[in-house]
């Protein structure tokens, strides 16, 4: 029986692609229509009336390899696409407003109109002096009676001053008498003079300044210094 040299039909293109396994990795899987090739392969085999199980096995393996590669590529493509990069909105540069001088509507009157209210806020005030029992005014003027009780008033005021310098500050006379009537302020001033005379307090005033400052002698904050320039 003469030996047949005829190449099997499947070694010819396009079926050959399934049987050249060493080239399989190099071809693009999308270029191969597996269904078409396998149908052709089966029809040809049927036509020849000869079933080649070995060739069938190779065709099956090649097909599955191609199919696997296609699947892998598809999966890769199906990775969720990266979110589209939205550019941050354009923020224009700051617009500097042109400068316009504008005369202020504030006057000296405006400034002084609020002063009344502010002066009420000078919160530290000496407590109300106990009202002396007033005799009939024609016998003794009230100030004289006040002077009679000077010792008591000195004690009260000294206690008050001592309490105030507990904060470590000087005491301004204006602050001490803020909100008082003129007569009351004068009385307070007189008592301060008595206290100073007794060496209980120090009084000082700078040439340029109208304000009178009070220090309590022996108060640790001032170490007994009676003059200090601010």
């Amino acid at each position: 029986m003469p030996q047949t040299t005829k190449k099997p039909f499947y070694f010819k293109p396009p079926l050959s692609v399934l049987f050249e396994i060493h080239k399989l990795e190099k071809v693009l899987p999308w270029d191969i229509n597996i269904s078409y090739l396998l149908t052709m392969f089966l029809e040809e085999m049927e036509q020849q009336g000869e079933v080649d199980f070995r060739a069938s096995g190779v065709a099956l393996e090649s097909s599955s390899t191609i199919y696997l590669r296609k699947t892998k590529l598809l999966l890769k493509l199906e990775d969720p696409p990266p979110p589209p990069k939205t550019l941050p909105d354009f923020i224009p540069p700051p617009m500097f407003l042109p400068l316009r001088y504008e005369l202020s509507s504030t006057t000296l009157d405006n400034l002084l109109n609020v002063l009344d209210e502010v002066l009420k806020g000078e919160s530290i005030r000496p407590p109300k002096m106990p009202q002396p029992i007033l005799p009939a005014p024609e016998i003794l003027p009230p100030l004289d009676l006040y002077l009679l009780k000077i010792e008591d008033h000195m004690k009260t005021l000294y206690a008050q001053l001592y309490q105030l310098v507990g904060t470590g500050e000087l005491i301004a006379f204006s602050k001490l008498v803020a909100g008082l009537e003129k007569i009351e302020a004068t009385k307070t001033f007189l008592i301060l003079l008595f206290l100073a005379q007794r060496g209980k307090i120090g009084l000082w005033q700078e040439e340029e300044i109208e304000e009178l400052y009070i220090t309590v002698i022996g108060d640790p904050a001032f170490d007994g210094k009676r003059t200090e320039i601010i």
């Binding site: 354009f90 224009p92 407003l97 504008e102």
Partner: protein, 197 residues
């Protein structure tokens, strides 16, 4: 009328004109905001609109012809304003005793002007939560206003804003003007400076 009488009358007229011009200048200097013809008429004691217009336009020209840091400009609606030429702003800003807006609120303002009408939520998204404060400041200075209610509030710039930058009061025109201004500011060399900051 003799020639000398005519001359005298001319001189009197000229003197009156000069005085009215000075009054108009005084008004614009003191106000620091755009004034309309009616107000300027009150200041100069002139009832004739035509005359006030002539005075104002003369002042604009006078300032143009002087080598000066100040300018008098005509705005939409026949309103006039005196201000510092913007080229000098940066050098003397710190001398102003009036509270001025810093760069942050001004950026928010630029953004609103550029995108208006814009939802408040969008401004906050883009400019951050601190810009709630900017909005308050800008509103207090009457540079922006809010329409609508709640989260759906749309923000727009005011006429006062337009006047400050000599922009049109008409939204479409103003936005075109702003685009030009910002494109100018967005030139490569300007950008390079910004990156260096």
């Amino acid at each position: 009328m003799t020639e000398s009488e005519q001359k005298l009358s001319e001189e009197i007229k000229q003197e009156k004109f000069t005085r009215q011009l000075a009054l108009l200048e005084a008004g614009l200097y003191v106000a620091g905001r755009p004034l309309d013809l009616k107000t300027l008429g009150n200041v100069t004691g002139t009832r004739s609109k035509k005359m006030v217009r002539k005075l104002a336009k003369t002042l604009v020209e006078n300032y143009k012809n002087r080598d000066t840091a100040l300018e008098v400009l005509e705005l939409e609606g026949e309103r006039f304003v005196m201000q510092l030429k913007t080229e000098y702003t940066a050098k003397v800003r710190k001398l102003s005793t009036r509270p001025l807006l810093s760069a942050g609120p001004l950026k928010t303002l630029s953004y609103i002007a550029f995108r208006q009408p814009i939802l408040q939520t969008q401004v906050i998204d883009v400019r951050g939560h601190h810009s709630y404060g900017h909005l308050k400041q800008l509103e207090e200075m009457e540079l922006i206003f809010r329409e609508g209610v709640g989260r759906k509030r749309a923000i727009r710039t005011t006429q006062f804003f337009a006047d400050f930058f000599c922009l049109s009061h008409e939204l479409r025109v103003m936005k075109r003007q702003l685009k030009t201004i910002f494109q100018e500011a967005d030139k490569p060399e300007v950008k390079a400076e910004k990156i260096q900051e």
